[in-house]
Amino acid sequence: MAVDNRFGPEYRDADDDPALFIRNEIITGPVSDWATDFSHLEPEWAADPYPIQDDLRQRCPIAHTGRFGGGWLPVRYADVAAIAYDTDRFSSRAIIMNNARPPREIAPVGGSPPISSDPPFHHEARKLLLPAFTRSAISRLEPATRAFCDSLIDAFDGRDVVDAAQEYAQHIPVRVIADMLGFPPEDGPQFREFVADLLEGINLPPDERVERVHRLFQYLLAQVDEHLARPRDDLTSYLLDVELGGHKLDPDHVVGTMALLLIAGIDTTWSAIGASLWHLASVPADRARLVAEPGLLPVAMEELLRAYAPVTMARLVTQDMHWGGVDMKADDWILLSFPAANRDPAQFDRAGQVIIDREVNRHAAFGLGIHRCLGSHLARMELRVALQAWLDRIPVFSLADPAAVTWAAGQIRGPRTLPLRIRD
């Protein structure tokens, strides 16, 4: 067998040149006017972004900010959908709005294919991953997921108050994705740090961000070494082995996709599970109805995904243009808020209300167009199983201290502290 030398010293010692990134001044602090100075990193947005989005939908409806080097925030469903579908004028070469834009030359591949890829490369990279993430492939993970949820609940034995975000929701996606990638389950706490580094440390100095990303890639390269030495039936060995156009993948592609698969499924599903439990703890009638009618869960879950969609994406404008009534410039950011689209009254009847038995629900929580969340079937399985297990075992629960609940700022929103009273 030929030695796989793609990950040798030549690759490892090559320095990415951060100088190629377009950097801007970091601006933080209270927002003066959400229409002209928005920031999804400020506490007001984290605590409750929906009134802000509703107000902007009346006033703008595409808000601007000078932060992050300049960007736009559409809040109407129609605008969000149009941007998601227009991959020519809105590139995915960066999908986390921050203070450094990658050079245009990294398109159409981007740093973490396929989420960072544009056509035509995007389709090829995505096709490699789709079979592992179909509903039927994912259904094989369901029994182990349920058993894991039960084990987390077993550990609550004898306690009155638990943190459902930190002691329950967080652990479920971490365990599942570690199994899929073939990473040691005990490394879970490190994954949580990687996620925080990438998604939450947005306004840190760029050099510090580079250093933190470096830590993640060092970890992934250690996993590559381990899998090259001992190949097995998991996604890491699959990525190391698979071919595209007759060649094994470029090493950057392998490691970038590993990073994507590790990071993208953690905060997102954690947020969806946590937000759903927060809602049910806050609205006793909805909780009681789901306990009485377990068959309603699949419908209820879609409504919770609509109302508390955790994921906002970003795009970069590819050319100067007049779009949606505003003058966009090449390299402006778009903060692509699926949560805002999901609460647009022009698209949804009673958009601001959670209607637990809403049957017609064309929501965009998993995105629209070619970048539909690759892990949506996995996320739905985890969310359904996590809620089923919780409701079966803990049918009565409430917010122990509403003021103690905290929500993540940034593009992935969900509860990060969620004390629930699980016994009277």
Partner: protein, 82 residues
């Protein structure tokens, strides 16, 4: 977009109605095969597929309507069989 089967003659013993997926729009969200498993399945990459000839049998009308109304990509239509 037809959200109702009224006007298609369904239940009146006249023309049959078929479900159709626009494969150019489908992105594999899977709402159709979740909501109407009697009418839709998934392929090896998770994209929706119409099962059999796609004719909506009695009892599946509501499932068909929900699949159409919940597709995020608006990729599903109900067509009158001609």
């Amino acid at each position: 977009m037809a959200l109702s089967l009224k006007g298609y003659g369904l239940g009146e013993g006249s023309d049959a109605v078929k479900v159709h997926i626009d494969s150019g729009r489908c992105q594999g969200h899977g709402r159709c095969y979740d909501l109407a498993p009697g009418l839709f399945g998934d392929d090896d990459e998770g994209y929706g597929q119409v099962l059999g000839n796609g004719i909506v049998p009695p009892g599946e009308e509501k499932a068909a309507r929900l699949a159409v109304a919940n597709c995020p990509e608006r990729a599903i239509d109900l067509l009158e069989e001609t």
